[in-house]
Amino acid sequence: MTPGLDHTLGIVALGAAVLGATGGMLGSFAVLRRQSLLGDVLAHAALPGLCLGWLVAGRSVVPLMTGALLAGGLAALSVLAVGRFTRLKPDAALGIVLSVFFAAGVVMLSHVQAVGGAGAAGLSAFLFGQAAAMLQADLVAMAVVGGGAAVLVALFWKEIAAVCFDAPYARALGLPVGAIEALLTLLMAMAIVVGLQMVGVVLMTAMLIAPAVAARVWVSRLAPMVGLAAVFGVVAGVGGAVLSAGARGLATGPVVVLIATGIATVSLLLAPGRGVVWRLVRNRRLAARLEGLRVLDTLRAVAQAHGDPDYPAQTGMIAAAHGLPVDRQLRQLQAEGLVAAVCHPPEAAQHWVLTPEGRARLAMVGEKA
């Protein structure tokens, strides 16, 4: 690799790390407040702002970021206004504002490109991101915005936590809930601005949601969740940057998003306690235990029918009374010490009796009247 390529990879990887950390940290609050979709709205709404910034100052990072922030703020206010002055449900309000802003952005984009000539071609990179076009100035701006967001979160941590968990109570305590909610929306817009160059307006919301969702299933307190989400974001960002640098024709932004969502998928499947696989295993164990209990109950019924609680019942007789094959359950119950295998001469077939432990287990569910 040439030094130039190394330099680019360094900038891209650092930028991806900043993006991942910022997205993961701030996405946690969006996910906990059930406002993930607002992130999508702010991201799509950034496009007309970017076009305006371009028209004013060309390819210069500060005007572009400012334009995106302002457009995001306008979109957030629009969502509030639609919610207040119409009877639309929140999801419809979000969908409409997203579409209107994004449509306006695409119209402006095509117009700017038509009149702006070749120089304006770079603007369309903001749709899906173009990491390779990142400059050092972009990285510095991203780091400043991301760092600023981290400082704000640290300063207002307890107010943010209280508002995310129980906003009406926080208001009753006298906390300025409206201002904190506005701050959280601003922070979300900042996270999006950080990601525009890298993953673009269309995919940015994944960088808010995926690391936060992944982190939530592994930990059960707020600070570890926010920290772990940031770590997941960094892993996805740097991993995506390195992967796409090593292979030809892989767009960095989408690869980063795929890694982040991959982490989320694996987490949702495997996390202890909350993961899908873990719950499946637990449910299967519970079901097996329940089935064993029912076989135990049948054995008791058979013994009672013979007027002898210690009556040795043959496997086939238990199965007939139970209505289902019982061999596997009996062996499992034997392993747990709840039934014992006995001989019942002169018969050669296997017979079974309840052990005291088995009777105790049955006592937990009582007896059929």
């Binding site: 906990l32 059930r34 300063l155 941590w157 307890k158 107010e159 936590a161 209280a162 995310c164 968990f165 129980d166 009406p168 109570y169 926080a170 208001r171 009753a172 305590l173 006298g174 906390l175 939530r216 930990v219 059960s220 307190r221 707020l222 570890p224 969740m225």
Partner: protein, 252 residues
Amino acid sequence: MTGTDLHEPHFALHVEDLTVAYRHAPVLWDIDLDVPPGVMCAVVGPNGAGKSTLLKAALGLVPPVAGHVRFFGLPYAKARQRVGYVPQRSTVDWDFPATALDVVLMGLYGRLGWFRRPGKAERAQALAALEAVAMADFAARPIADLSGGQQQRVFIARALVQQADLYILDEPMAGVDAVTEAAIVALLKGLRDSGRTVIVVHHDLQTVQRYFDWLVMLNIRVIAQGPVSEVYTPENLRRAFGGRVALIGGEA
């Protein structure tokens, strides 16, 4: 009268001319209400009577169309530290990543001030509040793993840690088991016996006489208010609930 003057200071809660409307439909109409200090007061009424809204309006969470509210003679903004609020359990997402202790500590956030984190003293207070609701063993437990009754106790502990003079609880006995209900009632009676005032939105008419000594009957308007022995009458119940309710527990 200026805002700092005490107005009706001899009542723990004083509500005058309070009217609240959602989209032009009145939810509370011209409420005049006084709760003296040191009582355990139930607010009862049919569904849609405005019970929760009354609490929220008193706490400034719902804007009133008209009227005013005083706590110990002060507007709520000046009496916050003296009032502990326990919202309905179902209003929050219990899947939030926090331990029981984390939630109780939030009760101190209003007092801590900007940029200050809860420290050792605050943690000790929060633990004591959990102790008071018999949840100290669950302090480090994620709230998502708690049962409904345990979650309710954590919510009460979050208000207790404020060391308030007046506690306002919205349906604390909804959806909890009998053991938890008994524990909550014993705790609230203990608060009252130590001179605090307790106001509870309550849904179970059968237990009103056993649990409470003061009663407000509400149905958009105040139907009746006063000591339970005077207010809990067939006539008042009929006026509050319509013909649908049979008086349980005999004559008051």
